[in-house]
Amino acid sequence: MTHVADADAVSALSDQLADAVERAGRAVVQVNGRPRQPSSGIVYAPGLVLAADHALEREDDLTVETAAGPALPAQLVGRDGASDLAVLRVPGLAAETATPAAAPARVGQFALAVGRPGGRALMASIGIVSAIGGPARMRGGLLEQYLRTDATPYPGFSGGALIDTRGGILGLLTTGLAGGATLAVPVALAWRLAEPLARQGYLSRGWLGIGSQPVRIPAGQRGGRAHDRGLLIVEVAPESPASRAGLLLGDILVTLGDQTVDDGEALQALLGGDRVGRPVTVQVIRGGTLVALDVTVGQRPDRRR
């Protein structure tokens, strides 16, 4: 490399990064929802804060603080474990509303993690967008997309912002989704999920009520189909859509609607919120014979409710 960094350019970059943190920081709040370490949140609409679901260890007595203080009472209006998102309503919150980044995140771009993890003080670290992944199966459902970063997540950064070098929001930080890895829910997805969370308190997620494992189906037991994969049903929850439709232990689920079902991820992806309350025809192989059943898809129960 022959490039030689210019002293003024480095200073300008330094100022730009500090400006970006300051700008985004006006919309990053401190969220007090667990005994010791506070967490962070992003003001995504006037009076509404997106926070990290896992950092809210109680549902009452929640407060939110800005740099200016004081602590304002916050009401939990919705939460979702699979995306680790929660929406808080904070009457009287004067903080600015966050601005999404002008363009979606790209692997390799500089990214800053910004949080307000205690004492109302803003903190930041720098790294890059390391990966863009998903859909991924999380506890309680499917997460369409996530970002990964190598910026240091200080304690209490969950719910904070991953931002670009202009202060635009790339995503909402969380270390609570995948074994402590520093991930972010992309801003477009987080903002989109916030809407039903604020409106109805939960995300619609389709649910059959089965436990299954992917299997390879031997020739001659495929019910006349050529495809050799399916989901062996090893559990049927009582009073579940699957139980009401007559699915049995030992059935091999092969289609839902007009889609083949090869594994659990495929099934999760097919069970979007739009299917809740609607009938769909599933095909299972039972004793080597193809059987069609109509299932009315239910809403995935939240284990906390």
Partner: protein
Amino acid sequence: MSPVLAPPARADHALGLPADVLSRVMPSIVRIRGRGPAGAAGVVWRGDAVVTNHHVVAGAGRALRVIAADGHAHAARVLDASRELDLALLEVPGAELRPGAIGASERLRVGALVFAVGHPWGQPWVVTAGIVSGLGTLSGPDRAARRPYIRSDVRLAPGNSGGALLDARGAVVGVNAMVLGGDLAVAIPSEVVRRWLGERA
């Protein structure tokens, strides 16, 4: 994220200090050897005076040496020290070291680029890059008065203690002191050092 450079350093990294700035700053960072095998770092404050951490020189006695960037080892003695601030002022009789440009730590902002120069794990004159992560106070070792500190995400290791935290122009804005929780680097602001030196004058 820590681009690691050793002199003669070439700061080609986008986050790196320009090579001319780096070569100007390097002689103002010294190595310090005490009684133990683990070295530390120091910042040249005057031609014959070096600032470092108190915990670096405690108990070193007559074994104390300051090693300049040119490799020359000088005998040194502790002129003054504050356990509370974790600062020590060393006198290096007869030396003509190059003093660092001292920056205004009170003008630092969260998010600004910073560079640590020291000798992590004994590797001489290594630069690591990051940003200011937080500005605030922490309570001292004796849980007494809370004092201002610069927190950053530069990667520090044993051997960085007493070394310089530089801003984007290569000015010394802090003296690296410790690492909290494995990944939070803590530096004593240059303003605190300046005030301490002023008080003892």
